[in-house]
């Protein structure tokens, strides 16, 4: 207790000198809190957008589909989709399914033809994902007729217009060619893989595409959306067992959305660099401040040593001062950051422009995860401990008698 008492009183006595260290640690902690907090929120929203708008939590395929090249894709279809759908939807942890059948070919208007890549989907399911958002016109209607929503750029290149018909020529699984007319109900911007593909994008209703390709009742991809509060980790075992039982294979959303993990890694790297810079600056400031304080207290240290205080006990006093500084600085930094977070919250959040996957801008708040902040506390304490060790080693270089002669 006496060591803590000495440390506290010395810190209070040298408050002016210690204010710089406290301010530095506080600013460092505030910066880390705000940066981490906004990144965490941004990636949480990004992840939810990737899952709910694009990939679902899981995608199921006929076994061998993911290894097959595009020419053989039609040989790996889930032929009994309605049976699979019925079996899957018995699980209350599933929200909805979005079956898809991909195709490619040529879409022709009156004068021009363009290469197209697209898929057929169930309009109600797709309407709940990103492809349900149209730029012009309307989304697909569930009236059983052959319809399509084209990329805005694809529509422009083909010379067609909304309400017109696109004749689609595609390859069949049997190797022959097939064609059908699709009524254009609307257009969209972006297509999930960058604007480059907007010039060949087409989404149509599933039954019409099945009919076009001559594979009624078949799909190549089943996108599984889990109910609110259920994560991919929670459900992966059940999905794996289901796939094994029905001759299917699956991919998790994070295996498909590699860009998400890459983006996260870039931001995490930035966070590590920022943390390292702040900690290095902190360690130098702590060493400098405490070292100057201890140099002016060498006679006091020497007196303590003369009356029997061991080096370990002196190191403990220095460590206490250093830890009190870092914990106080971190706590103050978190409080300042909490105030900033509150201001961001009441002012409606930080505005972000639309990402490549979304057409709408969005807002994030500053909400770091508690274990991350706890880890920063621990890091600052470790840095302080290292700083106090450096000071102790420097202080012990002088002999007791040498320090007493400085009187």
């Amino acid at each position: 207790m006496i060591y803590v008492l000495i440390s506290l009183r010395n810190l209070k006595k040298n408050l002016g000198k210690n204010a710089l260290t406290l301010t530095m640690i506080s600013f460092g902690m505030t910066a880390l809190y705000v940066y981490t907090g906004s990144n965490t929120q941004m990636f949480r929203q990004f992840r939810e957008s990737v899952i709910h708008d694009q990939y679902g939590h899981f995608q199921l395929y006929e076994r061998g589909y993911t290894d097959a090249d595009s020419k053989d894709a039609l040989a790996h279809l889930v032929k009994n989709y309605s049976f699979i759908e019925e079996a899957l939807l018995q699980d209350s942890d599933l929200d909805f399914l979005a079956p898809r059948l991909h195709f490619s070919g040529i879409a022709s208007g009156d004068e021009k033809s363009i290469i197209i890549k697209g898929f057929g989907g169930v309009p109600e399911a797709e309407a709940r994902m990103e492809y349900g958002r149209v730029y012009r016109g309307n989304f697909l209607e569930s009236d059983g007729s052959a319809q399509t929503v084209m990329g805005e750029e694809a529509l422009r290149k083909s010379g067609l217009g909304i309400g017109g018909y696109a004749t689609v020529l595609a390859g069949m699984s049997s190797g022959g060619m097939t064609a059908a007319d699709f009524r254009i109900t609307g257009t969209r911007k972006g297509c999930g893989e960058g604007d480059r593909l907007n010039g060949m994008f087409m989404i149509s209703d599933l039954s019409s595409v099945q009919e076009l390709l001559g594979v009624p009742g078949s799909v190549d991809t089943i996108i599984v959306h889990l109910a609110a509060g259920i994560t991919a980790d929670d459900k992966e075992d059940d999905i794996r067992i289901f796939c094994e039982r029905h001759g299917l294979e699956y991919r998790r959303w994070d295996e498909l959305a590699l860009f998400y993990e890459r983006s996260r890694q870039v931001f995490a790297m930035n966070e590590h660099i920022l943390t390292a810079i702040i900690l290095v600056i902190s360690v130098f400031i702590i060493i400098n401040t405490l070292y100057m304080a201890y140099m002016s207290r060498m006679r006091e240290i020497a007196t303590m040593r003369a009356i029997g205080t061991t080096k370990a006990q002196i190191a403990r006093i220095i460590l206490n001062e250093s830890l009190i500084l870092s914990v106080t600085g971190c706590t103050f930094g978190v409080l300042v950051a909490a105030v900033i977070s509150f201001i961001v919250f009441v002012t409606g959040g930080i505005h972000h422009p639309p990402s490549v996957f979304n057409e709408e801008s969005y807002y994030t708040f500053i909400q770091p995860e508690a274990p991350v902040i706890a880890a920063y506390f621990v890091l600052f304490m470790l840095v302080s401990a290292a700083a106090s060790l450096v000071i102790a080693l420097r202080a012990f270089k002088f002999s007791i008698a040498e320090c007493l002669r400085w009187i």
Partner: protein, 226 residues
């Protein structure tokens, strides 16, 4: 024999010049003695006190205290040895400025670890006449009072030896005389060995033995031969 110095030499390096502070000092001190180290500034009396107090090792020679050769002790063991057997009184009092009188006096017992007798601490503070100032910080005390706190701190562990480096140098002559009287009284009551250094001839008269030092050598030891 409580203390025995054998052929002590101490050499410092000042820049690249070797300064011989102590030359071939041999000294035996009995328990309960009251000794004055007398000599001008720079004569080496502080260095001899530091060597006696185990806060500085001699360049050569051996120091035996209670029969133990302190040169062979490791740092932690030497710290514990100082804490148990040696008390220090410094010229500038050297109190811990952030602790009050009571905390300063009990500090040597606190660092020892374990429980200690608080009544004993209070009785030591009373014995130096500071019972009204227990909660005062050093900067709230006069020079004489500070030195009394330093004396109480040195006494509180009931050490075998108390070393005082010019204990009255920063005090007026009246207060200095009272401090020496106090040390003499404590020496008589507790039988603790006192060794103090001074260059004041008047103070040396209080001592039972006066050891005169010049240029690092003992040249006269009144009351006992070298």
């Amino acid at each position: 024999m409580l203390i025995s110095l054998r052929n002590i030499h101490k050499t410092y390096l000042l820049d690249k010049v070797a300064i011989q502070a102590v030359r071939d000092v041999c000294l035996d001190i009995d328990a309960g003695d009251f000794i004055c180290l007398m000599g001008p500034s720079g004569s080496g009396k502080s260095t001899i006190l530091h060597i006696l107090g185990c806060i500085e090792h001699p360049s050569s020679g051996n120091v035996f205290i209670r029969g133990e050769n302190t040169r062979t002790m490791r740092d932690a063991a030497l710290s514990r040895f100082r804490n148990r057997h040696i008390g220090f009184i410094f010229q500038s009092f050297n109190l811990i400025p952030v602790l009050n009188v009571r905390e300063n006096v009990e500090f040597p017992l606190v660092i020892r670890g374990g429980k200690f007798d608080r009544d004993h601490v209070e009785s030591v503070i009373r014995s130096v006449g500071l019972s009204d100032c227990m909660a005062h910080r050093p900067d709230e005390l006069s020079g004489g009072q500070r030195q009394r706190v330093a004396i109480a701190r040195a006494l509180v562990t009931r050490p075998d030896i108390i070393l005082a480096d010019e204990p009255t140098a920063n005090l007026d002559s009246k207060t200095g005389g009272r401090i020496i009287d106090l040390l003499l009284a404590l020496n008589r009551e507790s039988g603790t060995t006192f060794i103090f250094s001074t260059h004041n001839e008047t103070l040396s008269r209080y001592a039972r033995r006066t050891i005169r030092i010049l240029d690092g050598e003992i040249y006269e030891a009144a009351g006992a031969g070298r």
